[in-house]
Symmetry: C2
Subunit: 419 residues, 2 copies
């Protein structure tokens, strides 16, 4: 088989461990003789369209190894969804032009559900436009909403961050509630699925521990029931800790805090559930409140990443290369949970056609009957994903994250492409 | 000298390391023969007034040692400021009644500026009301605004959290800015002094690194200058990261986000500077923004505490007991920075009369001429305070923080006191 280069791109919101997947891809590709260089898209798929390809072979072994402990997207990521071939054939023709010019035969796309859809379209370029390329999707999303994989790399670390932050903040509130804050609200990410907010539930060790209320997008928000629960909790415990998903919504699908703006994928841009809830509590109950919105802090928090998550992120990157080298196409390495009582996992293979554009919500049996907390089944699922600490190296009190050289491959095409 | 018991109380907002001071007090007291038991106030000074004294001698050696790595206030804290003796003599008489009933001759008060004032009044009870008691103030405040000590225990850890969070979130924004968020705002605590926001500046390694703008309470906010700086930064770097103190204010002293409510000390309760700034940016410049409000997460984040801070917090607790045992009164153990080029510190002694009700602001030479960042002098001051990591033990992916038994000493007084 002729030696072909590989294209790798990061897509959508970045995570604490997406670079660990990049590390897995590059280290595995360097070890496979039939794969030439790995070119990374500068700012994701846009880099392919613009012919802005980062030559990862210019990076030292140590720099690539350091990606494993570096958060964010080392090559840049983007929110840019390719339309269908019928709608925008020019984009696909441009991709082929760039791939051909740089002898690219492998396409590794590291992203969530929208990216899986793009990856699927690329995997079909051989049939649709006659350019042979193997496309492998590498799962990544803090939202944990991809199907056919037990969990998504990126989620375990944000889950650990939210669980620890909830426990720490709850202890703070508990020590002050006699004369100060009685209601504390932590807003967690998760546009449509409540996985991240659910992880806040891991802060509790026993019945009655904080968080006392979790608000999931999957459960229609009922203001009166919520306020009654807050009031009962404060009267019983002296304080009430709430973890609210940014996707918390009313029965009619209106988000509690819809900022009214939309991102490039057409999703509503959220933020501000916590202050909205705080205002409700204050108006109806008069309790002193505080609220926190962790926003990007939660998905960038490599300093407290889950070791399990880091290992899995690396493993799916490595497996993607191995699947490609073995001739596979249109698949996604998936994390498969072992059947035993003790947590174990391995890498399986999921067909991309069944991954793209499917969102995995929290199952109803992961949420307590009253809709305000997680069940033991949810705990059994979530707890292993946050296990282990994987601290980055520190210097002078600060984590040492790598900054790559990111040298671009010389252009071969005269034509520019406007993105 | 007759053996006397000690009273210890936590006051005001808790921190990641106030329990390390408690640990220092209790371990040192256990080693001093002239000090009997250490009784901790349940919920701070209120516990003394209500005769709710926690018997720390009921806690195991291991439990007390674990306080060193446990955030929040293990005995409960409160926001409750004693009035002057002239205004509320009954409170002081009650204190004496409780102290006498429980043979208390040492008073250790672990708090900030307001608490130093209370501690000073207690130190004068011998003169004013004829009850002999030695009162030592143990410095604690994330705000770092106490005078006569180089820094305040609690600050180094929140500084480390903000510096790391700023670096991590800035990397996230940098990787996405081509198609997504261009302006990110992190709101940090610090009511009147900009120390915590300043620590965000440690995220930068070289000129031009994030954060690009820091907003200090010490520098009057000028909306036009701010927006121009944001715009220039986005045009130059592609994105702009801002760390804003909750105390950021206009020239006339109006806070950018005054929620209009006040706490028990009469201070305005703040929160919401970040969304306020985000709205300004959106309205004037139209850039896509994200914002985070770390709130209690920052001061409770024991998982990423500064080892230097933990050591100093322990040391001031231990020193307080040693000063008391040596017969001192009305003082505060202070952290004294060594003169050498390499950072060193020792414990000195500051007279309480000069500590109470004085706020230490950021010196002007710590802030760049344009008012938007920190100077090398600030960096020299701040950097040593975040040095070293002091990770708590983990089990199943979660930090193991101790929960004390907190058994109350049997009451000796019939009279109740309403607080």
């Amino acid at each position: 088989m002729a030696r072909k280069n590989a294209f790798y791109a990061q897509s959508g919101g970045v995570t604490a461990v997406i670079n660990a997947s990049a590390c897995g891809v590059i280290e595995a590709a360097r070890a496979h003789s039939q794969i030439g260089k790995v070119y990374a898209g500068r700012n994701g798929i846009i880099g392919a369209l613009r012919e802005e390809l980062i030559d990862t072979s210019r990076e030292s072994k140590a720099a690539i190894a350091a990606l494993r402990h570096t958060p964010s997207g080392a090559f840049g990521s983007c929110r840019y969804k390719l339309k269908s071939i019928e709608e925008n054939r020019a984009e696909y023709e441009r991709l082929i032009e760039v791939f051909r010019a740089h002898n690219i035969g492998y396409f590794f796309y590291n992203g969530g559900g929208d990216s899986a859809d793009t990856c699927l379209k690329v995997s079909q370029l051989s049939e649709t436009l006659g350019y042979p390329v193997q496309a492998i999707h590498i799962p990544k999303t803090v939202d944990n909403d991809l199907p056919l994989t037990d969990n998504c790399p990126g989620f375990g670390s944000v889950a650990k961050y939210i669980a620890i932050s909830t426990r720490e903040a709850a202890m703070d509130v508990a020590s002050m509630c006699e004369t100060s804050t009685k209601v504390f609200i932590l807003e967690a990410m998760g546009r449509h699925a409540g996985w991240i907010a659910a992880a806040g539930g891991l802060a509790a060790e026993q019945e009655g521990d904080a968080p006392h209320i979790i608000l999931f997008p999957e459960i229609a928000f009922d203001k009166d029931r919520f306020l009654r629960k807050v009031d009962r909790t404060v009267k019983k415990n002296g304080y009430c800790v709430i973890v609210a998903s940014e996707g918390a919504q009313y029965r009619d699908g209106t988000f509690l805090a819809d900022a009214g703006t939309r991102d490039a994928f057409g999703h509503a841009q959220l933020g501000g559930v916590a202050p909205t809830l705080a205002a409700m509590v204050k108006d109806a109950l008069g309790y002193k409140y505080h609220w926190a919105v962790a926003d990007y802090l939660q998905r960038a928090a490599r300093h407290i990443a889950s070791a399990t998550d880091v290992e899995q992120a690396y493993a799916v990157g490595k497996a993607a290369v191995e699947f490609a080298a073995a001739g596979h196409n249109a698949i996604m390495p998936a994390i498969v949970r072992g059947k035993g009582k003790r947590y174990s996992w391995s890498i399986g293979e999921a067909p991309l056609a069944k991954v793209a554009n499917v969102e995995k919500m929290m199952p109803r049996n992961f949420i307590t009957r009253d809709g305000f907390n997680i069940t033991p089944a949810a705990r059994d699922y979530l707890a292993p994903l946050i296990q282990g600490e994987d601290y980055p190296p520190y210097k002078g009190g600060m984590p040492q994250y790598v900054k790559l050289k990111n040298e671009l491959v010389p252009r071969k095409l005269k034509k520019r492409f406007k993105v």
